[in-house]
Assembly symmetry: C2
Homo-oligomer: 228 residues x 2
Protein backbone atom coordinates (compact mmCIF):
# COMPACT_ATOMS: atom_id res chain seq x y z
CA UNK A 1 0.00 0.00 0.00
CA UNK A 2 1.35 3.47 -0.82
CA UNK A 3 2.09 5.53 2.26
CA UNK A 4 0.54 8.98 2.34
CA UNK A 5 0.41 11.91 4.72
CA UNK A 6 -3.02 13.40 5.44
CA UNK A 7 -3.22 16.88 6.95
CA UNK A 8 -5.86 16.47 9.65
CA UNK A 9 -7.25 19.45 11.54
CA UNK A 10 -10.14 17.64 13.16
CA UNK A 11 -12.74 19.40 11.03
CA UNK A 12 -15.34 17.71 8.83
CA UNK A 13 -13.40 18.30 5.62
CA UNK A 14 -10.01 16.92 6.66
CA UNK A 15 -11.66 13.98 8.43
CA UNK A 16 -13.43 13.18 5.18
CA UNK A 17 -10.15 13.43 3.27
CA UNK A 18 -8.62 10.96 5.74
CA UNK A 19 -11.45 8.53 5.00
CA UNK A 20 -11.08 9.06 1.24
CA UNK A 21 -7.33 8.36 1.37
CA UNK A 22 -7.98 5.16 3.32
CA UNK A 23 -10.75 4.11 0.95
CA UNK A 24 -8.35 4.47 -1.97
CA UNK A 25 -5.96 2.03 -0.33
CA UNK A 26 -3.41 4.45 1.08
CA UNK A 27 -1.51 3.61 4.25
CA UNK A 28 -2.23 6.84 6.11
CA UNK A 29 -0.08 8.88 8.44
CA UNK A 30 -2.15 11.73 9.91
CA UNK A 31 -0.40 15.04 10.55
CA UNK A 32 -1.84 17.71 12.84
CA UNK A 33 -0.35 21.06 13.83
CA UNK A 34 -0.73 22.70 17.19
CA UNK A 35 -0.13 26.23 15.95
CA UNK A 36 -1.72 28.27 18.70
CA UNK A 37 -5.22 28.18 17.25
CA UNK A 38 -7.83 29.57 19.62
CA UNK A 39 -10.13 26.62 19.18
CA UNK A 40 -8.16 23.79 20.78
CA UNK A 41 -11.26 21.64 20.51
CA UNK A 42 -10.06 21.01 16.96
CA UNK A 43 -6.94 19.23 18.24
CA UNK A 44 -9.00 16.93 20.46
CA UNK A 45 -11.23 16.16 17.51
CA UNK A 46 -8.23 15.36 15.32
CA UNK A 47 -6.99 12.83 17.86
CA UNK A 48 -10.38 11.19 18.26
CA UNK A 49 -11.05 11.05 14.52
CA UNK A 50 -7.62 9.58 13.72
CA UNK A 51 -8.10 6.93 16.40
CA UNK A 52 -11.64 6.12 15.21
CA UNK A 53 -10.91 5.91 11.47
CA UNK A 54 -7.57 4.26 12.11
CA UNK A 55 -4.16 5.48 10.97
CA UNK A 56 -0.68 4.03 10.81
CA UNK A 57 0.64 6.92 12.89
CA UNK A 58 -0.64 10.29 14.06
CA UNK A 59 2.07 12.94 14.15
CA UNK A 60 1.28 16.12 16.10
CA UNK A 61 3.74 18.95 15.52
CA UNK A 62 3.89 21.81 18.02
CA UNK A 63 4.35 24.97 15.99
CA UNK A 64 4.06 27.87 18.34
CA UNK A 65 3.56 30.73 15.92
CA UNK A 66 0.38 32.13 17.43
CA UNK A 67 1.81 35.38 18.75
CA UNK A 68 3.57 36.15 15.46
CA UNK A 69 0.63 35.56 13.12
CA UNK A 70 -2.07 38.11 12.51
CA UNK A 71 -5.32 36.17 12.37
CA UNK A 72 -8.56 36.02 14.27
CA UNK A 73 -7.82 32.30 14.67
CA UNK A 74 -4.62 32.90 16.63
CA UNK A 75 -4.97 36.30 18.30
CA UNK A 76 -7.42 36.85 21.14
CA UNK A 77 -7.59 40.56 20.42
CA UNK A 78 -9.12 39.89 17.00
CA UNK A 79 -12.74 39.19 16.32
CA UNK A 80 -13.99 36.02 14.59
CA UNK A 81 -16.77 37.25 12.27
CA UNK A 82 -20.18 35.78 13.07
CA UNK A 83 -23.59 36.06 11.48
CA UNK A 84 -22.32 36.90 8.01
CA UNK A 85 -24.57 36.21 5.06
CA UNK A 86 -23.71 33.78 2.27
CA UNK A 87 -22.82 36.73 0.03
CA UNK A 88 -20.54 38.23 2.67
CA UNK A 89 -18.77 34.89 3.21
CA UNK A 90 -18.18 34.64 -0.52
CA UNK A 91 -16.63 38.11 -0.89
CA UNK A 92 -13.06 38.95 0.05
CA UNK A 93 -10.62 37.36 2.49
CA UNK A 94 -11.84 37.38 6.11
CA UNK A 95 -9.86 38.02 9.32
CA UNK A 96 -9.73 34.27 9.94
CA UNK A 97 -7.14 34.08 7.15
CA UNK A 98 -3.77 32.92 8.53
CA UNK A 99 -0.98 34.15 6.20
CA UNK A 100 0.76 31.26 4.40
CA UNK A 101 -0.95 28.67 6.60
CA UNK A 102 -1.38 26.00 3.95
CA UNK A 103 2.07 26.78 2.54
CA UNK A 104 3.58 26.09 5.96
CA UNK A 105 1.50 22.95 6.49
CA UNK A 106 2.22 21.56 3.01
CA UNK A 107 5.94 22.28 3.22
CA UNK A 108 6.33 20.48 6.55
CA UNK A 109 4.10 17.63 5.37
CA UNK A 110 6.08 17.24 2.16
CA UNK A 111 9.34 17.31 4.12
CA UNK A 112 8.15 14.48 6.34
CA UNK A 113 6.74 12.63 3.31
CA UNK A 114 10.01 12.84 1.38
CA UNK A 115 11.96 11.83 4.50
CA UNK A 116 9.95 8.67 5.02
CA UNK A 117 9.39 7.81 1.38
CA UNK A 118 5.68 8.60 1.27
CA UNK A 119 4.56 9.77 -2.15
CA UNK A 120 1.49 11.88 -1.42
CA UNK A 121 0.22 14.61 0.83
CA UNK A 122 -3.56 14.98 1.12
CA UNK A 123 -5.05 18.34 2.01
CA UNK A 124 -8.70 19.28 2.51
CA UNK A 125 -8.76 22.52 0.56
CA UNK A 126 -12.01 23.35 -1.14
CA UNK A 127 -12.64 26.11 -3.66
CA UNK A 128 -16.44 25.93 -3.85
CA UNK A 129 -18.10 26.52 -0.47
CA UNK A 130 -15.11 28.20 1.15
CA UNK A 131 -14.14 31.46 2.83
CA UNK A 132 -12.10 32.91 -0.01
CA UNK A 133 -8.69 31.99 1.39
CA UNK A 134 -6.09 32.35 -1.39
CA UNK A 135 -4.26 29.18 -0.27
CA UNK A 136 -7.32 27.03 -1.03
CA UNK A 137 -7.45 27.49 -4.81
CA UNK A 138 -6.39 25.42 -7.85
CA UNK A 139 -3.85 28.14 -8.82
CA UNK A 140 -2.24 27.87 -5.40
CA UNK A 141 -2.04 24.08 -5.60
CA UNK A 142 -0.49 24.29 -9.08
CA UNK A 143 2.08 26.81 -7.87
CA UNK A 144 2.94 24.70 -4.84
CA UNK A 145 3.21 21.60 -7.03
CA UNK A 146 5.77 23.45 -9.13
CA UNK A 147 7.81 24.20 -5.99
CA UNK A 148 7.76 20.47 -5.22
CA UNK A 149 9.01 19.71 -8.74
CA UNK A 150 11.92 22.15 -8.82
CA UNK A 151 12.79 22.62 -5.15
CA UNK A 152 13.07 19.09 -3.78
CA UNK A 153 15.31 16.10 -4.36
CA UNK A 154 12.26 13.91 -5.03
CA UNK A 155 11.11 16.41 -7.64
CA UNK A 156 14.51 16.63 -9.28
CA UNK A 157 14.53 12.85 -9.52
CA UNK A 158 11.20 12.96 -11.35
CA UNK A 159 8.95 11.85 -8.52
CA UNK A 160 7.81 14.98 -6.66
CA UNK A 161 5.58 14.61 -3.64
CA UNK A 162 2.08 14.76 -5.08
CA UNK A 163 -0.37 17.12 -3.43
CA UNK A 164 -3.84 15.57 -3.46
CA UNK A 165 -6.91 17.72 -2.85
CA UNK A 166 -9.90 15.43 -3.38
CA UNK A 167 -12.43 18.00 -2.08
CA UNK A 168 -11.19 20.85 -4.27
CA UNK A 169 -14.20 21.00 -6.55
CA UNK A 170 -16.86 19.50 -4.30
CA UNK A 171 -19.67 21.48 -2.72
CA UNK A 172 -20.15 21.21 1.05
CA UNK A 173 -23.27 19.13 0.42
CA UNK A 174 -21.23 16.68 -1.66
CA UNK A 175 -18.61 16.53 1.10
CA UNK A 176 -21.30 15.73 3.68
CA UNK A 177 -22.67 12.93 1.50
CA UNK A 178 -19.19 11.51 0.89
CA UNK A 179 -18.45 11.65 4.63
CA UNK A 180 -21.63 9.74 5.43
CA UNK A 181 -20.97 7.20 2.66
CA UNK A 182 -17.50 6.49 4.05
CA UNK A 183 -18.62 6.31 7.66
CA UNK A 184 -16.70 9.34 8.88
CA UNK A 185 -17.47 9.85 12.59
CA UNK A 186 -18.99 13.29 12.00
CA UNK A 187 -20.09 13.49 15.64
CA UNK A 188 -16.39 13.72 16.61
CA UNK A 189 -15.43 16.46 14.16
CA UNK A 190 -15.16 20.14 15.06
CA UNK A 191 -15.40 22.86 12.41
CA UNK A 192 -16.36 25.91 14.52
CA UNK A 193 -13.78 28.72 14.68
CA UNK A 194 -14.59 29.21 18.36
CA UNK A 195 -13.90 26.78 21.15
CA UNK A 196 -17.13 26.71 23.13
CA UNK A 197 -18.87 23.66 24.55
CA UNK A 198 -21.12 23.64 21.51
CA UNK A 199 -20.34 24.88 17.99
CA UNK A 200 -21.46 28.51 17.72
CA UNK A 201 -23.49 28.06 14.52
CA UNK A 202 -22.75 31.64 13.47
CA UNK A 203 -19.10 31.79 12.32
CA UNK A 204 -18.33 31.33 8.61
CA UNK A 205 -17.15 27.76 9.17
CA UNK A 206 -20.30 26.72 11.07
CA UNK A 207 -22.51 28.42 8.48
CA UNK A 208 -20.82 26.68 5.56
CA UNK A 209 -21.05 23.34 7.36
CA UNK A 210 -24.71 23.78 8.29
CA UNK A 211 -25.54 24.81 4.74
CA UNK A 212 -23.83 21.68 3.45
CA UNK A 213 -25.84 19.41 5.75
CA UNK A 214 -29.05 21.21 4.91
CA UNK A 215 -28.49 20.90 1.15
CA UNK A 216 -27.54 17.24 1.58
CA UNK A 217 -30.74 16.63 3.53
CA UNK A 218 -28.80 15.16 6.44
CA UNK A 219 -28.85 16.25 10.10
CA UNK A 220 -25.51 17.38 11.51
CA UNK A 221 -24.94 15.18 14.61
CA UNK A 222 -22.97 17.79 16.58
CA UNK A 223 -24.57 20.27 18.97
CA UNK A 224 -24.86 23.96 18.09
CA UNK A 225 -25.68 27.05 20.12
CA UNK A 226 -27.91 28.10 17.24
CA UNK A 227 -28.56 26.54 13.85
CA UNK A 228 -28.81 29.41 11.40
Amino acid sequence: MPESIVLLSGGMDSSTVLAIAKSKGHDVVALTFDYGQRHRRELESAMKVAAKIGVKEHIIIPLDLGKYLRSALTQRGMHVPQGRSEEEIGSGIPDTYVPSRNIIFLSIASSIAESRGAGNVFIAVNAVDFSGYPDCTPEFLDAFGNVMSVGTKAGREGAPIKIEAPLLKMSKAEIVKEAVRLGVPLELTWSCYLGGKKACGRCDSCKLRLKGFEQAGIKDPIEYEVRT
Copy 2:
Protein backbone atom coordinates in the same frame (compact mmCIF):
# COMPACT_ATOMS: atom_id res chain seq x y z
CA MET B 1 12.68 52.32 6.86
CA PRO B 2 11.10 49.25 5.25
CA GLU B 3 10.84 46.34 7.69
CA SER B 4 12.30 43.05 6.46
CA ILE B 5 12.77 39.56 7.81
CA VAL B 6 16.22 38.01 7.43
CA LEU B 7 16.59 34.25 7.79
CA LEU B 8 19.67 33.91 9.98
CA SER B 9 21.30 30.54 10.63
CA GLY B 10 24.49 31.88 12.17
CA GLY B 11 26.64 30.89 9.21
CA MET B 12 28.83 33.22 7.19
CA ASP B 13 26.34 33.55 4.34
CA SER B 14 23.22 34.48 6.32
CA SER B 15 25.24 36.80 8.56
CA THR B 16 26.42 38.58 5.42
CA VAL B 17 22.86 38.82 4.15
CA LEU B 18 21.85 40.40 7.46
CA ALA B 19 24.58 43.03 6.99
CA ILE B 20 23.54 43.61 3.36
CA ALA B 21 19.89 44.15 4.35
CA LYS B 22 20.95 46.64 7.02
CA SER B 23 23.31 48.41 4.62
CA LYS B 24 20.40 48.87 2.19
CA GLY B 25 18.42 50.65 4.86
CA HIS B 26 16.08 47.87 5.93
CA ASP B 27 14.81 47.68 9.48
CA VAL B 28 15.74 44.07 10.15
CA VAL B 29 13.98 41.34 12.10
CA ALA B 30 16.20 38.26 12.28
CA LEU B 31 14.50 34.87 12.21
CA THR B 32 16.25 31.69 13.31
CA PHE B 33 14.87 28.15 13.54
CA ASP B 34 15.79 25.60 16.12
CA TYR B 35 14.89 22.58 14.03
CA GLY B 36 16.89 19.85 15.71
CA GLN B 37 20.08 20.47 13.77
CA ARG B 38 23.04 18.51 15.15
CA HIS B 39 25.29 21.54 15.20
CA ARG B 40 23.71 23.72 17.85
CA ARG B 41 26.77 25.92 17.71
CA GLU B 42 24.99 27.54 14.76
CA LEU B 43 22.20 28.78 17.03
CA GLU B 44 24.65 30.36 19.45
CA SER B 45 26.36 32.02 16.51
CA ALA B 46 23.06 33.35 15.23
CA MET B 47 22.33 34.98 18.57
CA LYS B 48 25.80 36.52 18.84
CA VAL B 49 25.80 37.78 15.24
CA ALA B 50 22.32 39.33 15.54
CA ALA B 51 23.34 41.09 18.75
CA LYS B 52 26.62 42.32 17.26
CA ILE B 53 25.25 43.59 13.94
CA GLY B 54 22.13 44.89 15.61
CA VAL B 55 18.53 43.97 14.77
CA LYS B 56 15.12 45.32 15.66
CA GLU B 57 14.11 41.90 16.98
CA HIS B 58 15.48 38.36 16.87
CA ILE B 59 12.77 35.73 16.64
CA ILE B 60 13.80 32.15 17.39
CA ILE B 61 11.21 29.56 16.45
CA PRO B 62 11.42 26.08 17.97
CA LEU B 63 10.51 23.64 15.22
CA ASP B 64 11.14 20.17 16.52
CA LEU B 65 11.12 18.17 13.31
CA GLY B 66 14.50 16.48 13.75
CA LYS B 67 13.23 12.96 14.29
CA TYR B 68 10.90 13.14 11.30
CA LEU B 69 13.39 14.47 8.75
CA ARG B 70 15.87 12.29 6.93
CA SER B 71 19.09 14.29 6.81
CA ALA B 72 22.64 13.96 8.06
CA LEU B 73 22.08 17.36 9.68
CA THR B 74 19.25 16.13 11.89
CA GLN B 75 19.79 12.40 12.41
CA ARG B 76 22.68 11.11 14.48
CA GLY B 77 22.63 7.78 12.69
CA MET B 78 23.54 9.44 9.40
CA HIS B 79 27.02 10.41 8.34
CA VAL B 80 28.01 13.98 7.42
CA PRO B 81 30.32 13.57 4.39
CA GLN B 82 33.86 14.83 4.96
CA GLY B 83 36.94 15.11 2.81
CA ARG B 84 35.05 15.32 -0.49
CA SER B 85 36.76 16.91 -3.46
CA GLU B 86 35.47 20.02 -5.20
CA GLU B 87 34.14 17.85 -8.01
CA GLU B 88 32.32 15.58 -5.57
CA ILE B 89 30.77 18.55 -3.77
CA GLY B 90 29.54 19.88 -7.10
CA SER B 91 27.84 16.65 -8.18
CA GLY B 92 24.47 15.47 -6.93
CA ILE B 93 22.53 16.19 -3.76
CA PRO B 94 24.37 15.15 -0.56
CA ASP B 95 22.98 13.53 2.61
CA THR B 96 23.05 16.92 4.31
CA TYR B 97 20.02 17.87 2.21
CA VAL B 98 16.97 18.47 4.44
CA PRO B 99 13.79 17.93 2.38
CA SER B 100 11.83 21.16 1.85
CA ARG B 101 13.98 23.04 4.38
CA ASN B 102 13.99 26.37 2.63
CA ILE B 103 10.35 25.94 1.66
CA ILE B 104 9.47 25.57 5.35
CA PHE B 105 11.71 28.46 6.40
CA LEU B 106 10.42 30.79 3.68
CA SER B 107 6.78 29.94 4.31
CA ILE B 108 7.03 30.68 8.04
CA ALA B 109 9.10 33.80 7.38
CA SER B 110 6.59 35.08 4.83
CA SER B 111 3.72 34.33 7.22
CA ILE B 112 5.36 36.42 9.94
CA ALA B 113 6.27 39.11 7.40
CA GLU B 114 2.70 39.38 6.10
CA SER B 115 1.36 39.38 9.67
CA ARG B 116 3.51 42.32 10.74
CA GLY B 117 3.44 44.22 7.46
CA ALA B 118 7.07 43.59 6.49
CA GLY B 119 7.53 43.52 2.73
CA ASN B 120 10.63 41.37 2.24
CA VAL B 121 12.19 38.13 3.33
CA PHE B 122 15.93 37.80 2.83
CA ILE B 123 17.47 34.36 2.41
CA ALA B 124 21.13 33.41 1.97
CA VAL B 125 20.77 30.90 -0.85
CA ASN B 126 23.64 30.69 -3.26
CA ALA B 127 23.75 28.82 -6.55
CA VAL B 128 27.46 29.13 -7.36
CA ASP B 129 29.67 27.61 -4.64
CA PHE B 130 26.98 25.45 -3.09
CA SER B 131 26.22 21.85 -2.31
CA GLY B 132 23.67 21.23 -5.04
CA TYR B 133 20.58 21.62 -2.86
CA PRO B 134 17.51 22.02 -5.10
CA ASP B 135 16.02 24.66 -2.80
CA CYS B 136 18.95 27.02 -3.43
CA THR B 137 18.39 27.71 -7.11
CA PRO B 138 16.87 30.55 -9.16
CA GLU B 139 14.14 28.18 -10.44
CA PHE B 140 13.15 27.37 -6.88
CA LEU B 141 13.02 31.04 -5.91
CA ASP B 142 10.89 31.84 -8.95
CA ALA B 143 8.51 29.00 -8.12
CA PHE B 144 8.24 30.10 -4.51
CA GLY B 145 7.68 33.69 -5.59
CA ASN B 146 4.74 32.49 -7.65
CA VAL B 147 3.27 30.78 -4.57
CA MET B 148 3.54 34.12 -2.74
CA SER B 149 1.71 35.84 -5.59
CA VAL B 150 -1.23 33.46 -5.90
CA GLY B 151 -1.44 31.90 -2.43
CA THR B 152 -1.40 34.87 -0.05
CA LYS B 153 -3.62 37.84 0.66
CA ALA B 154 -0.68 40.21 0.17
CA GLY B 155 -0.07 38.64 -3.24
CA ARG B 156 -3.72 38.80 -4.24
CA GLU B 157 -3.67 42.49 -3.36
CA GLY B 158 -0.74 43.03 -5.69
CA ALA B 159 2.03 43.30 -3.09
CA PRO B 160 3.37 39.80 -2.48
CA ILE B 161 6.13 39.30 0.08
CA LYS B 162 9.32 39.69 -1.96
CA ILE B 163 11.95 37.01 -1.52
CA GLU B 164 15.41 38.59 -1.71
CA ALA B 165 18.48 36.44 -2.30
CA PRO B 166 21.40 38.87 -2.65
CA LEU B 167 24.04 36.10 -2.64
CA LEU B 168 22.35 33.99 -5.31
CA LYS B 169 24.90 34.59 -8.04
CA MET B 170 27.97 35.42 -5.96
CA SER B 171 30.98 33.15 -5.54
CA LYS B 172 32.12 32.31 -2.01
CA ALA B 173 35.13 34.57 -2.53
CA GLU B 174 32.82 37.45 -3.39
CA ILE B 175 30.71 36.72 -0.31
CA VAL B 176 33.84 36.79 1.88
CA LYS B 177 34.89 40.14 0.44
CA GLU B 178 31.40 41.58 0.89
CA ALA B 179 31.31 40.32 4.49
CA VAL B 180 34.65 42.00 5.25
CA ARG B 181 33.59 45.21 3.52
CA LEU B 182 30.42 45.39 5.62
CA GLY B 183 32.18 44.54 8.88
CA VAL B 184 30.40 41.22 9.46
CA PRO B 185 31.79 39.66 12.67
CA LEU B 186 33.08 36.59 10.83
CA GLU B 187 34.81 35.37 13.99
CA LEU B 188 31.34 34.77 15.49
CA THR B 189 29.89 32.84 12.54
CA TRP B 190 29.68 29.06 12.33
CA SER B 191 29.37 27.25 9.00
CA CYS B 192 30.60 23.75 9.92
CA TYR B 193 28.02 20.94 9.69
CA LEU B 194 29.45 19.38 12.86
CA GLY B 195 29.32 20.87 16.33
CA GLY B 196 32.86 20.44 17.62
CA LYS B 197 34.91 22.96 19.57
CA LYS B 198 36.59 23.97 16.32
CA ALA B 199 35.17 23.81 12.80
CA CYS B 200 36.11 20.46 11.25
CA GLY B 201 37.58 21.86 8.05
CA ARG B 202 36.55 18.73 6.12
CA CYS B 203 32.77 18.84 5.63
CA ASP B 204 31.37 20.36 2.42
CA SER B 205 30.40 23.56 4.20
CA CYS B 206 33.87 24.09 5.75
CA LYS B 207 35.55 23.29 2.44
CA LEU B 208 33.41 25.76 0.48
CA ARG B 209 34.04 28.43 3.11
CA LEU B 210 37.79 27.84 3.24
CA LYS B 211 37.97 27.91 -0.55
CA GLY B 212 36.16 31.25 -0.55
CA PHE B 213 38.58 32.79 1.95
CA GLU B 214 41.55 31.40 0.04
CA GLN B 215 40.33 32.79 -3.28
CA ALA B 216 39.57 36.13 -1.64
CA GLY B 217 43.09 36.23 -0.19
CA ILE B 218 41.73 36.70 3.33
CA LYS B 219 42.40 34.59 6.43
CA ASP B 220 39.31 33.01 8.00
CA PRO B 221 39.36 34.19 11.65
CA ILE B 222 37.68 31.06 13.10
CA GLU B 223 39.62 28.02 14.32
CA TYR B 224 39.65 24.76 12.37
CA GLU B 225 40.72 21.24 13.22
CA VAL B 226 42.40 21.14 9.81
CA ARG B 227 42.46 23.67 6.99
CA THR B 228 42.23 21.65 3.78
